[in-house]
């Protein structure tokens, strides 16, 4: 199991070594020590390995992640798991702004709070936040699920497209075209599935959540016009 100390090894060396790995590598579990808030740690991974980072990371950690599992034992700076394609990223502390921004797939779990713009422009990623999320979360969210155990800040889901937002606590305010929606069985099932994948199987009751989504008035797609595209 390779163990890299970023106090002595340059970050570029670590990332280059991770990028060189082939999908069938035997070096499938990496440990990273002393991250000390450095930026872009383990960004751009494309093979099914696990990277464990012991301590707080800076910006864009695990950005563009594909297939890999990245465990951050600490807090994360701006844009953790931004543009993630697949895989799993787990932050045991808090996350700064724009966590999971533009993510296309995979699962991001944050055990603490996430700051403003969590899930901004999300396009299929699932994000589970045990704490609360800041203002303008899920701004222009297009697809995927944002699950918040705590509260949401101002302007949740502003200009939202088709993402699903589940919040257990209070919502300070909804953004333009974002409304509370009925929580039907299919939504409870979808929420249950996300919680199960995030490691909360049976611990959290989907009934305690409210669902928010698009009123579909702001983006003017009409299904009758589908042929025109």
């Amino acid at each position: 199991m390779p163990e890299i100390d970023l106090g002595t090894t340059p970050l570029r060396e670590l990332n280059a070594a991770l990028h060189r790995l082939s999908p069938d590598t035997n070096e499938s579990h990496w440990i990273v020590d002393h991250p000390e808030g450095r930026h872009a740690i383990a960004a751009g991974l494309a093979v099914p390995i696990t990277v464990e980072i012991n301590g707080p990371v800076g910006y864009y950690c695990a950005g563009m992640n594909k297939l890999a599992t990245v465990l951050i034992h600490g807090s994360a700076g701006v844009g953790v798991a931004e543009n993630m394609m697949s895989g799993f990223v787990h932050v045991t502390g808090d996350a700064s702004q724009s966590a999971g921004a533009t993510g296309r797939g995979g699962l991001l779990r944050i055990d603490g709070n996430a700051s403003s713009r969590c899930g901004i422009s999300m396009k299929g990623i699932d994000i589970v936040v045990k704490g609360s999320v800041g203002h303008m979360s899920a701004f222009m969210a297009q697809a995927g699920n944002l699950v918040v155990f705590g509260d949401a800040g101002e302007a949740l889901g502003d200009s939202i497209y088709e993402a699903r937002l589940f919040v257990r606590g209070k919502v300070k305010g909804l953004g333009a075209d974002c409304i509370e929606k009925e929580m039907r069985d299919e939504h409870k099932q979808a929420l249950h599935n996300v919680l199960e994948r995030a490691g909360f199987d049976g611990q959290i009751d989907p009934d305690e959540f409210k669902r928010y989504g698009s009123a579909r008035k702001l983006y003017n797609f009409k299904v009758d016009n589908a042929g025109a595209y």
Partner: protein, 296 residues
Amino acid sequence: MCGIVGLFIKDPALEPELGKLTAAMLATMSDRGPDSAGFAVYGKGQKGHSKLTLRSKSAAAMKETAKRIGREFGKAEITLHDTHAVVSIDDKSLPRLTSWIAKESPETELVGSGKRMALFKEVGRPESVTERFGLETMSGTHAIGHTRMATESAVTTDGAHPYSTGSDQCLVHNGSLSNHNNLRRVLAREGLKIETENDTEVAAGYLTWRMREGKSLGDALKVSLDDLDGFYTFVVGTENGFGVLRDGIACKPAVMAETDQYVAFGSEYRVLAGLPGIEKARIWEPEPATVYFWER
């Protein structure tokens, strides 16, 4: 971009380390602001005395001016720091000294004044700026600092932060203001002298103006949320501590850490990573549009 740092010591045992810790924080922020750097250090005050920070075009010119001040004001204590000098003088002689500087040495700039604050700024890599001024050896209760990546005005010493906003008070800023030209005209009409094209100097002048109208610093910061258009994280140094304010959108970063020994501010967590006991610190991001103060 720009980087800002602040360190407020709670445990007096750490006071001798203030300069060293602040210098390391500024060096880390070189990545966010390699053009220029500046900092304000709140050291010991002397009862009945004021502290002025002066700046000349060169270290040689400052030395020469310091000699002349020494001859004219025998009791003044003068410490040279490269292009800057800190002058401690009894309050009675203070008005005579400031008018003497204006008349006899008009090329010398008064960059800050108060009981405890000394304020330094220059163009250059932050590491070299802090070394030139000898920040590492300075002690005190708190310090704020800035590393600049210029956007709104040229890379000059005048464009570097902090900007003095009053006695023992100064401002550093990460972000940019969109309405600084209009505000500059408003402030000029109100009789405030804005020396540079820099947007942060306008913000500093704005706070000075509001406090002159009788507002507290906290209230002046609150109303600035309505009047300053742009994005910003401000850190304001005061005689007893510092204040933090982020605009309502809060896209400019800010991370804080608190232990029994200190409260620290950084644009990024990396700034805080080298502080003693950071592993056990409470770490959080200040809320948008909320004024915070740490004082003692």
